[in-house]
């Protein structure tokens, strides 16, 4: 590069300011002493204190994490199965419908998914008597359904990049297809499974629309709690809660990114070394 792309760098700076100024502003105002969330009234950590003493928040967080753990795990299992089926089993009955069903939820507006599941659960309860009350189970079922297709996308993409001859080699060396899947395919796609799980976990933890339709009395997840408060306007304790969430997530992502880039660097160094050793 001979010329510095001044224009591009400027837009980049503006873009990142656009990304982060609202979040930073929110974080600063979480230390605002004033009850009016947008007017500065001196430094204070009282909203954090009130947050920690708020049992509702703790319960909602616990519920959200429970649902996210279960649904991410189930979604990873189901989503990986679907991804493997699409990538490896060329022909089976109803493949077209199947591949349609794993892509449609990706583009379905959340409101529609929400009302469709709610009507389904209500009618199911009318016919079978289950679910008598919506709540933990129905939310989890809904979360599994719409996050599994994201896992499928990730796994399918990884599987289509994968060198098929690795699987053929295992078969050639005496492994039956099921053993090949277990010994070779799953270990090789394990990074995709991990990122699929993380994706499903965050999607579940974050969801508000579908959850609001499939929840029932007593089951308030953290996003639902925030949603109900935010609809009434900006409040300082939500600022504090948001700050905690953003900082936690930021630290996790930064840590993961650092670990990944370190592993990648080490790998590259080893490859270079191996190449130089030659032979």
């Amino acid at each position: 590069m001979t010329r510095r792309p001044v224009f591009l760098i400027t837009v980049l700076c503006f873009g990142f300011a656009f990304f982060y100024i609202p979040i930073l502003s929110m974080m600063v105002y979480s230390f605002n002493d004033s009850r009016l969330a947008t007017v500065w009234g001196g430094f204070s950590t009282r909203w954090y204190a009130s947050l920690f003493s708020n049992r509702q928040v703790g319960a909602a967080l616990l519920l959200s994490v429970q649902i996210a753990l279960i649904s991410a795990t189930m979604a990873t299992i189901l989503g990986a199965m679907a991804g493997i089926a699409l990538a490896r089993f060329r022909k089976f009955r109803g493949r077209t419908i199947f591949s349609g069903m794993v892509t449609a939820p990706l583009i379905m507006p959340e409101v529609i998914t929400g009302i469709s599941l709610l009507m389904f659960f209500i009618m199911l309860a009318q016919i079978t008597g289950w679910p008598g009350q919506r709540g933990f189970t129905t939310i989890t079922l809904a979360h599994i359904t719409f996050s599994m297709v994201f896992v499928t996308t990730v796994v399918h993409a990884r599987m289509s990049q994968m060198d098929r001859s690795i699987e053929e080699a295992a078969m050639d060396l005496g492994s039956r297809p099921w053993q090949v899947l277990k010994d070779v395919t799953l270990p090789v796609i394990s990074p995709a499974l991990v990122s699929g799980w993380l994706l499903a976990f965050t999607i579940s933890l974050d969801d508000v629309v579908i959850t609001s339709f499939t929840t029932g009395p007593g089951a308030t997840t953290l996003p639902l709690l925030i949603w109900s408060k935010v609809k009434l306007g900006v409040t300082p304790d939500i600022n504090a809660l948001a700050t905690l969430i953003v900082v936690t997530v930021g630290l996790c992502v930064a840590l993961a990114g650092w670990l990944m880039s370190r592993a990648e660097r080490r790998r590259l160094a080893e490859e270079r070394l191996a190449y130089r050793a030659g032979g």
Binding site: F7, A82, P177
Partner: protein
Amino acid sequence: MAPRGADGPPLPGQPAGRAMSTLARWFHRRGWRDLIIATPYAWLILLFLIPFLIVVAMSLATRTPTAPPFGYGGENPVLNFRGYARLFTDTLYIRAFVTSLMNASIATIFCLLLGYPMALGLTRVSKSWRNILLMLVILPFWTSFLLRVYAWMGLMGRNSWFNRMLTDSWNWLVPSDWAITSVPMMNSNFAVILVTVYTYLPFMILPLYASLERLDPQLDEAAMDLGSRPWRVFLDVTLPQSLPGIIAGGMLVFIPAAGELVIPVLVGNPSSPMIGRIISDEFAQARDWPMASTVAVALLVLMVGPTMIYSRYQQKAEGAGSGEEKP
């Protein structure tokens, strides 16, 4: 289940053992494959396809004051198309569709205008910077969507520092009889578009970056070597080759933005609601399930076009990558 059981000798006189070994043999022959296909298949039929078909069926039902509030047959028409007729006659729905599509289109264009130079800029910075900046693009994506919308509520509010800063600069720029006390940003289509751009910008940048990063920098150099100025190089070389990224990013923003619910509820104009809000309100407030379903089906029909474009380009982009080595 122990897979080794398939190889072991059958256990005479133990029907349970024999059943197990038959099961194991079935599992190894084709069962594992059938299970892998059938499990997610059944799940999706039960929890995606059937609920979806319920929506379609519901759009043709009649609203009744029962619980659940719909009916088929009896004194009601078997198939009721009145909902679909209302879509075209009731200005509420027409306006909602127009507002949604307008807001989503404008937001998509602004995402592109801001996202394209950002993505291009990301390909031009040094490698170590690039990884950090990419992470900074993705980071908001991992944090709560709701909280990102909320962050703007704080900024746009009447008394916020941001609003006051805008108000003061306006008042400084214009004659004093045009002075205002605050900028009315909240609860407007402007707010919806701004927040949509803010929340969906990463969806635009990432596919654009992916398609721009793949470009061979030597192509640029070749074009410059052949006498093109940088702006022409951009128009002739870079832009056409990043078209798949533009389409992908555009659809990733447009499709969810058109059906958005959280943003219009929190910062939108309540007197001109968007489709997502209409569906939700018809369903939960008015308890008119058939009409909510009708609007939902109409929204999905509108989304079919963009989705087809998207998947066509997606296939093309993948085909260009690796589709040539088939025997």
